[in-house]
């Protein structure tokens, strides 16, 4: 069976302010696959996820990124999101004064509009959020509060997961999704992520530790060091890394 590529990154060189952070990165994620990218601190993992999502301030010097066959680098962040890329952020941003429900409703309807689906009315929206929120232990009180303001680390990650559940992206990028989570919160988030695995949606799990990969089991594991992938393998590579550390791979370059 031929696989359909979803995300194709070829020989990507990119950085910030003349400093090259990504140095010849190659990766293809096909539909339905879960890839883990593991690497030491400072390897440029967050830069990679930010570049895929189009965060302003980064410069691509060469190489290409394609999503569903389209050139991603020409798209604005919102266009990428509407095409189906979702970044589950390591440090979700607080937005004082904007109720979480307002934010979620704008997001859902922006994406539905792009998909040429009718916008959800208030009743339909409330129903959707209530159903998905329940699975993640998010109550009505929480979503009435301003976006992420005063949320604990666990609450922030659960809200990220809720957004992923209702926006249903084709590609979810989880950037250190487990940081700051206790084991119970981690399970809740992992359940939310796994619920989206339907053989068609793909995931890019960027992580420092192997811990999350016990719950979100990857099809492929890549070791990322100094701006490129230095080794790829299956899920056993993650265990090997956990045992030996990154030192050996960092040397390999």
């Amino acid at each position: 069976m031929t696989k359909t590529p979803l995300l194709e990154i070829e020989d990507l060189h990119a950085g910030v302010c003349d400093r090259e952070i990504i140095k010849g990165f190659n990766l293809t994620v096909n539909e339905g696959e879960v890839h883990a990218i593991m690497g030491p601190n400072g390897a440029g993992k967050s830069t990679l996820s930010n570049i895929i999502c189009g965060k302003p301030g980064y410069e691509i010097t060469s190489g290409s990124i394609r999503f569903k066959g389209k050139d991603l680098t020409a798209m604005s962040p919102e266009e990428r999101a509407r095409e189906g890329i979702f970044l589950c952020m390591q440090y979700p941003v607080e937005i004082p004064g904007v109720p979480t429900t307002t934010f979620l409703k704008h997001a859902v309807n922006a994406i539905r509009k792009h998909q040429e689906l009718p916008e959800l009315d208030t009743m339909e929206f409330v129903k959707l959020v209530r159903e998905e929120g329940k699975k993640l232990g998010i109550d009505n009180e929480m979503i009435k509060r301003p976006v992420n303001v005063g949320f604990s680390g666990g609450e922030k990650k659960r809200l990220e997961t809720l957004q992923m559940s209702i926006l249903k992206p084709a590609l979810s990028i989880l950037d250190e999704a487990d940081s700051g989570l206790d084991i119970d919160a981690l399970k809740v988030v992992a359940d939310g992520v796994n619920a989206l695995r339907d053989g068609k949606r793909s995931m890019l799990v960027i992580t420092h530790y192997q811990r999350l990969l016990n719950y979100v089991v990857p099809d492929f594991v890549h070791v990322y060091a100094d701006g490129r992938i230095v080794k790829s393998g299956d899920k056993s590579l993650a265990l090997e890394l956990e045992e030996k550390g990154y030192a050996e791979f960092v040397k390999e370059k």
Partner: protein, 463 residues
């Protein structure tokens, strides 16, 4: 100055006290002239277009209107509106007497000027009163300023609150006093719905200059909500000059919520002064949203003249292009135990300039008073500017007084977070601007008026 001082026939010149007031206005204006960039009170809001010499002042047709009214026994103004309807009177009759408030059928039908909630409506077109009076409950009176002058009801208060030597445009307004309304809410009367004064300007290319003068008196224990709406009806590029003065007197324990929406055309000039005098235990809450005009100045002067009088003066402004929107306040604490709070928030884009001049004066014996003031602005472009001049004049001990100012830009992280969820850049900016103005718009107590104001915040962002 030829443009602003013209020899036109005004109604009521034969009334000595009134005419002498007008003459004082003229003298005060001639002495001061149109402010220049060197005038301290106007140093940030360059008067540029305000001293142009091509403004046109239309003589009022007040005399004719009054004649029509006296000929029609019940005051229905059927002739005025030209509907030709006869006999059917919709006036408010009580005890066999006509209390006015009449409007004929056609007016009734045409009176939907987009007022979005139930209100007692008073309409002006290009600064001229539309002779249709709302059917008011007992104890509330709305008549034209000129009628109030004729029956001497206005004599006690008119011109008493405005210091003509400090406000050149108010002096000019006093010189031209003619159009406007007198509103009186009687002792302990609580008005059940807002009173709304709408001025529709459809001046086309006529460079119109008009003056409105309103006198609002709330007797002791009275409560009311007033909404002023300056609304543009014609092409946005038309230029005109609206010069407004409101004199407001609050009796003991009276409460007035005074809301204003300034939504003039982009090339218009709008200069407004509201002067308020408060007696003991009275409450005055002012909120203004300024979003139109080329030069827009909203000046509020409050005299807290007796114990336990309190006021809040809050404003939101939202602008772009080349506009200058100015909020100038002067809160005078003249008695012990008086309270004031001010919150001003602006969103400034393009080459626009926001101005906030806020003064709190605490008189020597006004102990135990509290005055707070905060101005914040969001700058959307590099060329946008805000000028802030807080002034505290404190002559008493044992007072609490504070002021603060801050300006910032839209947060890039917040914008990216929303965009990464599919929300477009413009929509994301709008959400943040809404959130920025949320706390000041929330000061509007009446839910319907608040929702209405919010809808105009959104419209400006879409422009």
């Amino acid at each position: 100055m030829a443009g602003l001082l013209q020899n036109i026939k005004l109604f009521g010149e034969y009334i000595p006290w009134f005419q002498s007031l007008r003459e004082k206005g003229l003298a005060a204006f001639e002495k001061q002239g149109v402010p220049t960039a060197k005038t301290e009170a106007w140093k940030y809001t360059k008067p540029r277009d305000l001293n142009a010499d091509d403004f046109v002042i239309e003589p009022s047709n007040f005399l004719d209107e009054l004649r029509a009214e006296t000929e029609d026994a019940c005051g229905c103004h059927h002739e005025d509106c030209g509907c030709g309807e006869e006999g059917e009177c919709h006036c408010h009759h009580e005890d066999g007497e006509c209390h006015g408030g009449g409007h004929c059928r056609e007016h009734e039908l045409n009176l939907d000027y987009g007022v979005p909630f139930d209100a007692y409506q008073i309409h002006f077109v290009n600064g001229k009163f539309i002779p249709v009076f709302p059917a008011l409950p007992r104890g509330v009176e709305v008549i034209t300023l000129m009628e109030a002058v004729l029956i001497e009801e206005a004599k006690e208060h008119l011109g008493r609150l405005v210091n003509l030597d400090e406000h050149p445009f108010a002096a000019l307004n006093t010189h031209y006093m003619e159009e406007g309304v007198y509103i009186r809410v009687g002792k302990d009367v609580k008005l059940d719905k807002p009173l709304m004064i709408v001025n529709h300007t459809d001046a086309g290319g006529s460079n119109l200059f008009f003056n409105l003068r309103n006198l609002i008196v709330l007797e002791s224990g009275a409560e009311a909500e007033l909404v002023e709406w300056y609304k543009y009806a014609g092409p946005q590029k038309s230029r005109y000059f609206a010069n407004i003065v409101n004199e407001i007197v609050l009796g003991k324990g009276a409460k007035l919520n005074h809301n204003k929406l300034q939504d003039e055309a982009f090339k218009a000039n709008h200069v407004s002064l509201s002067v308020v005098r408060q007696k003991a235990d009275s409450q005055y809450n002012n909120f203004c949203l300024q979003k139109g005009a080329n030069i827009g100045r909203n000046e509020i002067r409050v005299r807290l003249a007796a114990e336990n009088a309190r006021c809040s003066v809050d404003t939101a402004y939202i602008m772009s292009g080349w506009a200058t929107l100015d909020t100038t306040t002067n809160i005078e604490h003249l008695s012990p135990c008086t309270y004031s709070s001010q919150l001003a928030k602006g969103v400034v884009g393009g080459d626009a300039r926001g101005v906030f001049q806020g003064k709190i004066h605490i008189a020597p014996d006004a102990v135990k008073t509290e005055g707070t003031q905060l101005h914040k602005a969001l700058l959307l472009s590099d060329a946008a500017e805000v000028d802030v001049k807080p002034e505290l004049e404190i002559f008493a001990d044992d007072v609490k007084c504070s002021h603060g100012a801050a300006s910032g830009e839209l947060d890039e992280q917040q914008l990216f977070y929303m965009r990464s969820r599919g929300i477009g850049l413009e929509e994301a900016r709008q959400i943040l601007i809404d959130a920025y103005l949320e706390d000041v718009v929330s000061k509007v107590e009446n839910e319907q008026i608040r929702a209405w104001m919010k809808s105009f915040v959104r419209q400006s962002e879409e422009q």
